[in-house]
Structures are given as structure tokens and as C-alpha cells.
């Protein structure tokens, strides 16, 4: 029992250490809890322009550090989330958004999967409905019926 708890403790420590080393080491002082939560949400939502598959919260690259600082300052200035997102997009393009906005350029991205599912459903419906029609073809014509009877009677 004791051994198990030591294992669990060690495991928790390893995980804790890993998480600590994965997150960047800056400290920002926030006036209130809401701003802090907004900061965390935005830095997860915004993508690091240099390291393409990391968000600002994850990345330790110099540009991500700069952008976190900028994000912090914009929040301190009392900017709204949408203003901050516009600020970033006007400089780094739509690319910085992990959830791209709905526009003519991103219609395929947003609605493609829905369209594909609809096509799939239509295909399934068509295939299922065609079955009875195939069965009809299995019904013998009267000539064939007669022939069958002959064959059976021969036996």
C-alpha cells in the first residue's frame, strides 16, 4: 500500500515537472481574475506565427513572448477581446486565429464536413432505396415461371 502511494506521488511529480517545463516562464500581474482568464483564453486561441502548431500560451519563441507581452498590455489598456483579435489579425493575418473566421475563403473549411456528411447520407439513402427495385427484378416472368414448373415436374 505504501509502495503504491509512493509510486503515485512519483508519477504526479514527474507530470508536474513536465508541465512546469512546458509552460513559458513569465509572470503577469492581473488586476482581476476575469482579465487573467481572458488572457489565458486569448493566448490559447491565438497562434504563434513562427512556430506554426503552437499557440501563444505554449510557445517559448521570442515572437510568442513578444505577443504575450503585447496581449497583456492590450488587456491592461482595457481593450475588448474582439479589438485584440483584430489587432493581431491586421498584423499577422487570419493565420493567427486557431478558429478562422467564416468568410468566402473559409467556407470550404467550415461547411465542407457538413456537406460531406450530407452527401454520405444521400448516398446511403439512395443505396438503401434501390434494394427493393433490385428485388423486383428477381421476380420471374410468367414464361420463366412455366419453364420452372416444367423443370420441377420433370423430376
Amino acid at each position: 500500500m505504501r509502495l503504491i502511494s509512493i509510486f503515485i506521488l512519483a508519477f504526479a511529480l514527474v507530470i508536474g515537472v513536465n508541465q512546469a517545463s512546458a509552460s513559458p516562464v513569465e509572470t503577469f500581474e492581473f488586476n482581476d481574475e476575469v482579465t487573467k482568464i481572458r488572457f489565458q483564453a486569448l493566448s490559447k486561441e491565438l497562434r504563434c506565427p513562427k512556430c506554426q502548431n503552437q499557440n501563444l500560451a505554449d510557445s517559448n519563441s521570442p515572437i510568442a513572448q513578444d505577443l504575450r507581452k503585447e496581449l497583456y498590455e492590450l488587456l491592461q489598456q482595457g481593450k475588448a477581446d474582439s479589438e485584440i483579435v483584430d489587432f493581431m489579425v491586421s498584423r499577422y493575418g487570419e493565420f493567427v486565429l486557431y478558429r478562422p473566421r467564416v468568410s468566402a475563403l473559409t467556407y470550404v473549411l467550415w461547411f465542407g464536413p457538413v456537406v460531406l456528411i450530407l452527401i454520405g447520407i444521400i448516398v446511403v439513402i439512395v443505396v438503401v432505396r434501390r434494394k427493393p427495385a433490385d428485388k423486383k427484378a428477381l421476380v420471374l416472368t410468367s414464361e420463366q415461371q412455366d419453364k420452372l414448373k416444367d423443370l420441377l415436374n420433370d423430376k
Binding site: 506565427p49 513562427k50 506554426q52 521570442p62 515572437i63 513578444d66 505577443l67 503585447e70 489579425v89 491586421s90 498584423r91 499577422y92 493575418g93 487570419e94 493565420f95
Partner: protein
């Protein structure tokens, strides 16, 4: 019709293969700049060589301008440097430097040691202009027309091949536009 449907999955797989194969040769770092077509952002910064001299976006208007983002901490900038020296010899374009998040003394020494191709270098120690330009690394080069509108952003090193492919046609076009007084 029935036969064609039988081949449909094969056709779809081939089409998907072609799309994915094309994707292999695309450069994911190649992002269009959000600033193309927009005016050069406003700034007021000192030059690298003279900490008393303040320059702003108006100093860049009137000519076909290249703004090259560079720093001494950037190895690729060293690679690109001799090509920039060549570019600077072209009287039809003006090459300005944007010394990005760098140490002033180190940057000055660099320009003394190699050659200074720039009309002047803007000294952007904090990276504020860099941020407004959407710079996320160095080197990057912006092409600005004679109205002060950003026409191109190129991330990466310039060499003869890149210059011919990416810059020469655009600059020829801009020179033409300027001649026609557009």
C-alpha cells in the same frame, strides 16, 4: 453509368493523392502578409547610426523602397548580406534597413565589418515597428511603392534566384507604375 460508379472510388483516391502530393511541395511557412496593400505603418524611431536622428514612415515615401529586417543575431542575415550590397547598387530602388531587436553596438560593428548597403537603418530595439509590420523573424523584406503602400512581404533570405523570381518582376512593374504617374 454502372461501370463508371465502380471506378469512382479509384478516381477519388487518385484525386486525393494528387492534392496531397501537391501539398508536400508547398511551404507552410509561406504566409501572405496581412499588410500587403496597406500603407506603411506609422512609426517614429531613431536610426542605428545616429541616436539623435528620428525617422518616420514619411521618410520612406516617394521612391520604390525595400525595407530589409535584419539583426546580428540572425545567421541567415549574414548569408543574405552580399546580395543586399548588390541590390543597393540599383539606382531605381532604395534599400532601408530595419534593425530588429538588436544591440546597437553589435549592429554598428556588423555594418562596419561587412558593408552598409542601407540608406539608413531604423533602430527598432523593442520590436515595436516589427510588431506593426507583422514581423516574426529575420530576415524579412518588404517592398513599398512610391505612394508608401506595402506591395510585398518576403520572409527568408534573398539571393540571386530569389531576387529574380520574387522581386525583379514586381520592381519592374512598380517602376512602370511610377513612370505612368499612377
Amino acid at each position: 453509368m454502372g461501370k463508371l460508379i465502380r471506378f469512382l472510388p479509384l478516381i477519388l483516391v487518385i484525386a486525393l493523392g494528387v492534392v496531397l502530393y501537391r501539398g508536400l511541395s508547398l511551404n507552410p511557412q509561406d504566409m501572405p502578409s496581412a499588410l500587403v496593400g496597406k500603407a506603411m505603418p506609422a512609426f517614429s524611431l531613431v536610426t542605428l547610426n545616429d541616436s539623435e536622428k528620428t525617422v518616420s514612415q514619411t521618410d520612406l515615401v516617394g521612391d520604390i523602397v525595400l525595407v530589409n529586417v535584419w539583426a546580428t543575431w540572425c545567421p541567415t542575415c549574414k548569408y543574405e548580406h552580399p546580395y543586399l550590397v548588390d541590390v543597393a547598387k540599383d539606382p531605381q530602388v532604395k534599400l532601408y534597413g530595419l534593425n530588429y531587436k538588436d544591440d546597437r553596438d553589435a549592429a554598428k560593428k556588423w555594418l562596419e565589418h561587412y558593408e552598409d548597403p542601407y540608406v539608413f537603418s531604423i533602430f527598432d530595439e523593442e520590436g515595436t515597428l516589427g510588431l506593426d509590420l507583422g514581423v516574426y523573424g529575420a530576415p524579412e523584406t518588404f517592398v513599398i511603392d512610391h505612394h508608401g503602400v506595402i506591395r510585398k512581404r518576403f520572409a527568408g533570405a534573398i539571393d540571386t534566384r530569389v531576387w529574380r523570381r520574387e522581386f525583379e518582376p514586381l520592381i519592374a512593374q512598380l517602376i512602370e507604375e511610377k513612370k505612368q504617374g499612377k
